[in-house]
């Protein structure tokens, strides 16, 4: 087959066969081209400029004729048919430092934590009788006997790598050794054998890991005291292969996509692990061999991708996972850079779109143990919702789309430096005031900024309850664009990139659909158990995004139910907190298993009442204003104020 030379940015070049996709050629040349939609040609973010034309565009969706005439092509939809020179435009890069700071959580060790009683990792100081000519039992029997004399464990399992160590270690320790044992469901496993009696003040560590679609968080925990030694987070490195879970599943189904996604998330976890070990400080000197346990949570797709298990069935009807309840693994099996024999517990999920992040979140929120009915929400790309109490639990997932994470909105972006996170609009001049993350000129709007903006626009009449922009508003900020009316939030000379930041009719539509899906999910869930939403005594909001929602704004647009503000509790990253509890306590771990088993999952896409509820929720705040009495009052007040002026 003919081979052609493709050069990128006049810098790197590569020879590839005819028919190769530009994105594949870029990978081979070591050039990074983001594919937020997973290479489906949907998002247009992989657009590149082709300086001369040895290529064929299979699709030009999201490119105008002018773009194509100017040489632009979607790298994921364009194949090589001759030599070509490619220019890759600047793409958004991720600001990791800010993300890390925004997800930091301060936690306390659970009251009464007792390592001997609660922890699955136990150490035993053993003193063995040395072998003699009259007692020639083999080392492993001798060791098993010594352990069984201290505790009534089930039969001790051992892997080949550990079996290789026991003879030399027993002799090195002169028959005094420390056995590190993992207690698993029906078994106990020797993780490590150390010479001598390792003093109790020598630490063993564990990791609590949350694999978010956007952000991966890792906590380093000292297992003896339960103390959180260090926390860190960074963007999930899989982002470059797709911003949402569906894009990643599609990416995984191509060629070596599965292996690459696995490698990328392991890279994220292992980098963060190194970072928490460094953060632990020079005094502690935490070595990876001392990290003997990890608990991992994440949505079901993240878990499948971590383990290299095909996730295709999650994407397609009838939406089933390969596995919800995973057996314990070793760090080596998974590829974590800690002690190779470390016990790794991937906590259980419930369904394709209600994963271990939610079961762990419910545990850490305490919902499953509360006498009163509570609502638990984790709002991100998917809004997972749980309603229940200690007697019953129902859950559903509503596909909110990426609007709240800055996707599907023209000037949307993630909550990093330069993101507008809050907006106030003057009801008379329609001039906005902005709050921007990180002392920067504005670059776009993040989720909380969009919610804030939508609420303000609604209250000031910039949009009506149907979400239509008031095109006759007496301000130059309201203008017509190619795609209809838009409202300008920041003028080019105020922004970081020198372009206007505006919100369009399409953006508003996407936002309303997103908030409508979440609210409809809540409604259907309550309806399914015949419990009026008002009986929920508290609303527990998890997830790192949830932390930044302004409750008032959330209620104003009809995303959150209209309840007294004090009933809302923002719990931060409930998923990693649940993983942390499971890391410390076998009881907590079992409780997460019970939560997964107890939850009744409602599949919204199979539920006709959902579509009805969704349609009713496609208004600001809702078709039925009686559901939002506080907002009804505000709207009246606002109208009065405007009329007054």
């Amino acid at each position: 087959m003919a081979e052609y030379t493709i050069s990128f940015d006049n810098d790197r070049s590569i020879s590839v066969p005819s028919g190769t996709l530009l994105t594949e050629a870029a990978v081979q040349a070591g050039v990074l081209i983001s594919q937020p939609c997973g290479g489906q040609g949907r998002c247009g973010r992989c657009a590149v400029k082709v300086l001369n034309g040895g290529v064929r565009r299979r699709s030009t969706l999201r490119l105008s004729d002018e773009d194509v005439a100017a040489g632009y092509a979607l790298a994921c939809q364009t194949v090589v048919e001759g030599d070509a020179q490619i220019i890759v435009p600047d793409q958004d890069t991720l600001d990791r430092t800010l993300t890390t700071d925004r997800t930091a959580v301060s936690v306390l060790v659970p009251a009464g934590y007792d390592v001997k009683r609660d922890q699955s990792i136990q150490r035993f100081h053993l003193t063995l009788s040395p072998p003699t000519m009259d007692d020639q039992r083999d080392d492993w029997s001798r060791l098993q006997t010594a352990v069984s004399q201290q505790t009534d464990l089930p039969q001790l399992a051992i892997s080949l790598p550990v079996l290789r160590q026991i003879g030399p270690v027993l002799r090195q320790g002169d028959w005094q050794v420390t056995a590190v044992v993992a207690l698993e469901e029906h078994a106990a496993r020797l993780i490590n054998l150390l010479p001598g009696h390792v003093p109790d003040d020598t630490s063993f560590y564990g990791l609590a890991v949350d694999i978010g679609t956007t952000t991966v968080s890792v906590w380093l925990v000292e297992l003896g005291s339960g103390e959180v030694i260090a926390q860190t987070a960074e963007y999930n490195r899989q982002i470059r292969c797709g911003e949402d879970v569906i894009s990643r599943v599609i990416y995984a189904s191509k060629n070596s996509g599965q292996a690459e996604l696995r490698r990328l998330v392991l890279e994220s976890i292992n980098t963060l692990t190194e970072r928490v070990m460094q953060k632990a400080g020079s005094e502690r000197q935490v070595a990876s061999e001392q990290v003997v346990k990890a608990t991992i949570v994440g949505n079901s797709i993240m878990m499948h991708l971590l383990l290299g298990i095909p996730a295709e069935s999650i994407r397609l009807s009838p939406f089933v996972t390969a596995v919800n309840h995973l057996p314990p693994f070793t760090a080596q099996e998974i590829g974590l850079g800690i002690h190779p024999e470390a016990e790794v517990l991937c906590l259980p999920g419930v369904a394709s779109y209600v994963g271990a992040d939610i079961t762990a979140g419910v545990l850490s929120s305490g919902l499953d143990d509360a006498p009163e009915v509570s609502l638990f929400m984790d709002v991100g790309t998917n809004g997972e919702i749980v309603l229940g109490c200690r007697d019953w639990l129902v859950t559903c997932a509503c596909s909110a789309g990426p609007a709240f994470e800055g996707g599907g909105v023209r000037d949307g972006m993630r909550a990093t430096r330069g993101a507008i996170e809050a907006v106030w609009i003057d009801g008379r001049t329609y001039e906005p005031t902005l709050r921007v993350i990180g002392k920067s000129k504005p670059r776009g709007l993040c989720g909380s900024g969009l919610i804030s903006l939508l609420a303000e626009m609604f209250l000031t009449g910039v949009v009506d309850k149907g979400g239509h922009l008031n095109e006759h508003l007496p301000t130059e900020r309201m203008r017509q664009s190619d795609s209809g009316p838009e409202y300008v939030i920041a003028w080019a000379d105020e922004t970081w990139h020198g372009r206007d930041i505006a919100i369009t009719h399409v953006d508003i539509d996407n936002l309303i659909r997103a908030k409508g899906a979440v609210y409809a999910g809540i409604f259907v869930l309550a309806d399914s158990v015949g419990v009026p939403l008002e009986t929920a005594e508290q609303v527990l909001i998890g997830g790192s995004f949830g932390k930044y929602i302004n409750v008032e704004n959330g209620i104003q647009i009809g995303l959150l139910p209209d309840m007294p503000w004090e009933n809302f509790k923002f719990l931060g990253n409930t998923a990693v907190l649940g993983a942390y509890y499971a890391l410390l306590s076998q009881t907590a771990q079992q409780r997460i298993g019970e939560i997964a088993g107890r939850m009744t999952y409602i599949e919204l896409s199979a539920d006709n009442s959902f579509y009805e509820a969704f349609t009713s929720a496609l208004f600001l705040p809702h078709t039925d204003l009686s559901r939002f009495p506080s907002v009804a009052t505000q709207v009246e007040d606002a109208n009065l104020t405007v009329t007054d002026s």
Copy 2:
């Protein structure tokens, strides 16, 4: 550090730092130098000629002053101190074909073998209900439910690699699949999932493997019928690192010796596995993925070396193994070239010098189930002996040394082409008649040949009962050498290599010590349980060497107890036969575990009565002729005959 160039046979050269051993330089240059004693400088077999002198000899044991003057050096004891040219003399190479033929065994499937009842590998044809929007259970739960509906297995375990396959396979088979499950002690494990209902006449296979110190044997078995499809054997490739187990343990303790020995034995097993699959023929087309089980036996040191477990403690007092009873492994963990998830059972041993080859041998001999007392012997470098019946079992190991395998005897060799395997001496002329293996001129004497020779020499008065050569014998075959008297068995012009083949006083001494150790072991074992040796109703002789011992000769020299010939049964390779039974039947496998648990091990080196018995046995046939009444009669007859002439 200075680097020097070492060339081998003017052919390959390598640059190594000062101080490198010649054997190490040879390895790096890809030149094979056998080290039968494991590089201890004991055997002299690694002697090489140094053409110019940039070397230092640390030891010249086994080399004469003349040898050294002629440039010879022991490669394992000589370090590089300058450039050097090395000539590697021809060393014995192994004739594999012949060995294979000699260990072939014909076996029948045990009567009443029922794969459904006996086999640990079971296949289940499953028909699952496909997931729907109303039944969104995950694939793995669905599969577990389907299996549990067919059988009451314990909870099914699964590895990550298999977990990765189940989703695609379930869909490929349209929810009809075949599950291949291994039933282990307290668990069941999904080994493989295949799309569709694999018909019962599609075969799964297993391997029975015996790792002898000298020979590795592999049988390919069809698990459904129990039929042995193919058998093969070759020299254990570890031989180049030491001929006996002790040399190998020493080799393993050096640098990368452990890894190299492991690699070599795996190379042997995997080569043999390929060969049995080829032998299965083109009609069957056995693929490695169809081989889903293996049972492995071998002496304790072979087992440790296979698994990469340090064996040093076996060599040193108080002689203990790291592990006798091994957990089940997968083929991948061990490194076998069959289905990576195949169940691999390393059968249990009893002690450092009574390994799984003996427990499996006892099973296949039927000794443990017999009402009458029997004696089981596996004579090789170590003579393992078991005495007992269905009510009790005692065992010991006597270090016979390598004499019976052709080691420690100047013209000794293994039982390959050119080995003298039987000798008859004319009592009047003292002229010998020889039987040689493989239609060849004689090259040396193998174990059975040595036993035959010693018996003949004793009966014809060439040696007396003390093992002293009769220096006044009227034949030119009796002559003086540098190391004392010797008897010439073949003249240079009759031999393969053009050198005389003779037996020396030292050789005879070694042989008598070897047979004395075995007999003393038998005696002490009987004595330890207070059972006179005569009550043993049969003598079961295992091991591929045992097969070729002439009973009459064995009794004549006092190696075997003086019992009617019909009481002796030669069982061939009882070890691999035991492995084969365990491969087919869980009951047989458990019975081997019970045998290992039931056997009382007598440590001879801690037993004073052994030394006394050994000293008494250092005569032909024994100091106490009343123990060998048949031999006493023969000696009288022989003397009469000689006197007559």
